[in-house]
């Protein structure tokens, strides 16, 4: 865990980022003058990841966590807010200017069965980033780097794997190869999108421990997951997202043991526990998460919220310290449990001074 006293400068700072996708209308829609619809994927998200820290973005489908990750690595365009890497604004850089940054920020994908080219050997796959960025001149140097990366990813001895094809490896091994291919450029920040959801349970802990080990070596990790249990165990901090906003954020232990937002509370009550005798009474919400095209007014969670009051339909909460929180950096966006000014006044992250992002 990173010490709070002397927190090093953050690697990644995301501030009030907004990402929206237009919904294609097609010819018929345009001619019929149907209204232009937008998917409000990310609606003003603020967080930071420091070296040696793992932040988990948790939520159900449609909450915007994957879009946030894609925005951070600049795979998609975004419409508002700022993204800073090591203090430098990277949001407006062109693809060519971004190239050196591609070495510092690496992404790990969900599907180990699809993230490796089936025609590339393990060596080819791990070597490719070196070739793309023209590092490590001679073949021998590249070979040494590839082996080093494989070992760092837990594939020892590297000889056993280096000439294999992906179809000869298990899912866990493939994911390690993908991780090795990311590590070979010696990045500072890893963005892991559901890194273990497609792997068997007995294999997951190994990959997550690997990531944890990298974190201890000083790497910053942004992990996207729908699995609260995984986040609770491996992340330092958790941010719970719903319909494009962070509803609750704080140290992992606090968010999970002392949830302050009604959505988080419902989620935690509903996640099955390992011990058959330790099952909580599930607080099952009615209906399903609404389509991010039609975001409810006021607090976006209010239609399904068990403690919603009438004013929740007109006030959009900002992240504020709740009365029930035990640590200062545990915040929730709920006017009932964490009263505070509207997001329109101080922004969704509750930091004041500037207003909410332009619609």
């Amino acid at each position: 865990m990173s010490a709070h006293a002397e927190a090093p400068a953050p690697l990644l700072e995301v501030e009030r980022v907004v990402t929206r996708y237009p919904v294609p209308r097609g010819i018929v829609g345009t001619m019929a003058r149907r209204p232009k619809l937008t998917v409000h994927a990310v609606e003003g998200v603020t967080f930071s990841v420091g070296p040696g820290e793992m932040l988990a973005l948790v939520g159900e489908s449609g909450c915007g966590k994957t879009s946030t990750a894609q925005t951070v690595v600049r795979m998609v365009d975004y419409q508002g807010g700022s993204i800073r890497f090591r203090g430098r604004e990277i949001g407006k850089l062109s693809q060519r200017e971004l190239r050196p940054l591609r070495r510092e920020i690496q992404m790990i994908y969900q599907d180990p069965y699809e993230s490796l080219d089936p025609r590339f050997t393990v060596r080819d796959a791990v070597e490719e980033p070196l070739l793309v960025h023209r590092l490590a001149g001679s073949r021998a140097e590249r070979d040494a780097q590839v082996r080093e990366a494989l070992v760092r990813a837990g594939l020892t001895p590297p000889d056993l794997y280096i000439d294999r094809y992906p179809h000869e490896l298990s899912g866990g091994q493939r994911q390690r190869v993908a991780i090795a291919a990311s590590l070979v450029l010696k990045p500072q920040l890893l963005v892991a999108d559901e890194p273990v959801s497609m792997l068997d349970v007995s294999v997951r802990a190994g990959i997550l421990s690997l990531l944890d080990g990298l974190r201890k070596d000083g790497m910053g990790i942004l992990m996207i997951t729908h699995d609260l249990s995984t986040a609770a165990h491996f992340a330092d901090r958790i941010a719970v997202m719903y319909l494009g906003r962070i509803m609750e954020e704080g140290p992992a232990r606090d968010v999970v043991r002392n949830p302050q937002h009604p959505y988080t509370r419902a989620l935690i009550s509903v996640v099955p526990k390992r011990d058959p005798r330790e099952q909580t009474v599930p607080q099952i919400l009615t209906g399903e998460t609404p389509n991010p095209v039609h975001v409810p007014s006021g607090c976006r969670f209010h239609p399904r919220c068990p403690i919603a009051e009438s004013r929740c339909a007109s006030i959009d909460p900002s992240l504020q310290p709740p009365a029930g929180a035990e640590v200062p950096d545990h915040r929730a966006a709920c006017i009932v449990t964490a009263p505070g000014p509207d997001a329109a006044e101080v922004g969704p992250d509750g930091r004041g001074d500037t207003a909410a992002p332009a619609a």
Partner: protein, 325 residues
């Protein structure tokens, strides 16, 4: 540790691999194995095509007579001297058939390659870049699709003359469109695969993405399609020659069929002047189709329908003792 070379080393390697959970498969580069050698149909087709290719290559050694000299009577029936009889000019049919295979196969292969090169390039560029380039190229493809083939051949023959090169080019131009569409669809799908996105996200340029990642995935389909294209090209050449639009200085099977009509072979009951070239064209087309179809089946198993037949599981008796308390 140096690369294992002896068989015992490999076996030891395999045991360790097995422990590590790695499945070692005997053939890695299985394309040729799975698509051709593994399927009887494709193998037969390939052998037939090879036989014809060898005949075409060694034509001078194999043909008993010259294909241009009169060596027998007019429409002589097949005999020991002329295995396939003679045509209306007294020229030995067998020799004509053997030499005719050269042009037919040459045009077939060359035109298919032209179609493959044009169609493949258009497909890759269109599928990979998308957007305006894609729209433009697809509109051009549509235009070429609409042009009727035979009138085009007639026009080109009239304007540019009837020679072999023109024929090859025309056939290629007529057929590239279907290849382009097929390849474009495949490229679009490969482009969306995670490993391509990953390569792009680490900063790989378009060249690397196309040549190292997309093309290898698309190449097998392109080859399969080209083989099928050969069959079509041979047919079209035959058709063109039959219509009298072929190169008059060359002999091809189509020309032989045309000659037989012009020489009233049927009226003279000279079946040997009509049947052999038609049969040869049919067999070559069939063989190419067999190979091409097997390749496509192997590459795209979803197209197969054989598995839809309902096959039931079988019951069998238990052998050996039951493990019980």
């Amino acid at each position: 540790m140096s690369h294992a070379t002896t068989s015992t080393d490999l076996a030891r390697d395999d045991d360790k691999s097995a422990e590590a959970g790695i499945e070692t498969t005997p053939d890695r580069r299985g394309f040729v194995r799975t698509t051709i050698l593994g399927q009887k149909q494709a193998l037969i087709g390939l052998i037939i095509v090879l036989v014809f290719v060898l005949i075409a290559i060694f034509a001078p050694l194999l043909a008993p007579y010259s294909p241009t000299e009169k060596t027998g009577g007019i429409y002589e029936a097949p005999s020991s001297a002329h295995w396939l009889g003679t045509d209306d000019g007294g020229v030995d049919m067998l020799s004509l058939m053997i030499y005719g295979s050269r042009v037919s196969l040459e045009v077939g292969f060359a035109a298919a390659i032209v179609a493959m090169v044009i169609g493949g390039s258009v497909g890759v560029v269109s599928g990979f870049f998308g957007g305006g380039v894609d729209v433009l190229l697809m509109r051009i493809t549509d235009i070429f699709l609409v042009i009727p083939d035979i009138p085009l051949v007639i026009v080109v023959a009239a304007i540019f003359g009837r020679n072999l090169l023109n024929i090859i080019l025309i056939i290629g131009i007529i057929y590239w469109t279907s290849t382009a569409r097929l390849i474009r669809a495949q490229v679009k799908s490969v482009r969306e695969r995670v490993y391509v996105k990953r390569a792009r996200s680490i900063g790989a340029g378009n060249n690397r993405l196309v040549f190292k990642h997309v093309l290898p995935q698309v190449a097998p389909l392109l080859i399969a399609n080209t083989v099928l294209m050969i069959a079509l090209a041979v047919f079209l050449e035959t058709y063109i020659a039959f219509l009298g639009l072929g190169d008059p200085s060359t002999i091809s099977w189509g020309k032989l069929i045309e000659n037989s009509f012009l020489g009233n072979a049927v009226l003279n009951n000279a079946w040997w002047a009509v049947v052999p070239p038609g049969l040869a064209v049919t067999v070559v087309i069939l063989a190419c189709t067999m190979v091409g179809q097997s390749m496509e089946d192997a590459l795209n198993p979803r197209l197969k329908v054989g598995h839809l037949a309902v096959r039931r599981f079988r019951m069998r008796p238990l052998h050996g003792k039951l493990e019980s308390e």
